[in-house]
């Protein structure tokens, strides 16, 4: 019983370490040039390495119990970050709250959906997947390659959605 509690405590402390580390890196409290995704991955590797060191140094705990707590914490942290990062629905929710609990569809269209579309065209251009030219846009060779892979994956899993729920 004692070992189980120690395992849960170790797992919880290392999960908290991972979350604090990710937040500090993303907020640039610790200066860095890494992308958000890379920060999550690096911090996860670092946290699991600490657990491995504790295990090797014969600290008396159940490795797999602590491992599972950390694994769940890492994926939960990534999931929450992914949800608040660019979700349109969440932006609607926050905008409605900011506007005093009610908002018109027109305002959401102008302030969020259109702005968000423009942001994403920039993201696609910055990633080299689309090219801006003469006021319009065209797909790049890299973009076409990526799109083909996505279409292949969607066909494999028989996904027929159009991006709408």
């Amino acid at each position: 019983m004692k070992e189980q509690i120690v395992s849960l405590i170790i797992g919880s402390i290392l999960t908290a370490f991972h979350i604090v580390w990710v937040i500090a890196m993303i907020r640039k409290i610790i200066p860095n040039k890494f992308s958000s995704m890379l920060i999550h991955v690096l911090s996860a590797i670092c946290t699991l390495s600490i657990l491995l060191v504790l295990w090797i140094t014969d600290v008396n705990f159940y490795f797999w119990l602590a491992f599972s707590v950390i694994l769940f914490g890492i994926s939960g942290c990534l999931f929450v970050f992914g949800a608040v990062y660019k979700s349109l629905s969440i932006r609607f929710l926050l905008m409605t709250k900011a506007q005093g609990k009610l908002v018109s569809f027109d305002l959401l269209d102008v302030l969020i959906t259109k702005v968000s579309f423009a942001e994403r065209t920039n993201i696609l251009c910055n990633m080299g997947l689309a090219i801006k030219e003469k006021g319009g846009y065209r797909i790049s060779k890299k973009g076409l390659r990526v799109a083909k892979r996505i279409v292949w994956l969607r066909k494999l899993f028989r996904i027929k959605t159009t991006g709408l729920y």
Binding site: F67, I74, L78, F92, L164, Y165
Partner: protein
Amino acid sequence: MDISIATAMGLSIFLFPLLLFVSGKFKWVPGLRFKIASLLIYTIWCLINLILEQQGNVIGWRWLAGGLCISAVLLVSFMFWSVLCWGYTLSMLLCLAENHSVDSQKHWEDLYAGPEGIRKLTTNRIGVLIALRFAFIEKGQLILTKFGELSAVIIQTGSSLFGIAS
């Protein structure tokens, strides 16, 4: 590696994508396919764990550890699944790839959302808030419920922690 944890990891990493693949043969929407596949994984793992327990191979904490491992893999899987099925940026890329080029951003918006324009996307995503009981519509306006208000405060805190401007 512990046999119970190995089973949990094996099921969620290898069998789960296979179940999603097989579920494509049925006329189910992607959300339902994911739910059914997840439920099957938890059920199969519980059954295997019960058998292992009868053989004396499973001790109490392994139920918690295995459950957490499966949930962790399913959370990450859901992120990939939702991007593949409903991803906004991904759909924009596929739309551009299909048409090769667009004359303007408005043209891209129209090709992406169809004749209804970008409003279609707004209405669609508002549908998510309503389905989750975060909000309701009255006289063409989106109004937050009490639950929606509380969620907004929590999400706002989460966004602020990550330094995401909203």
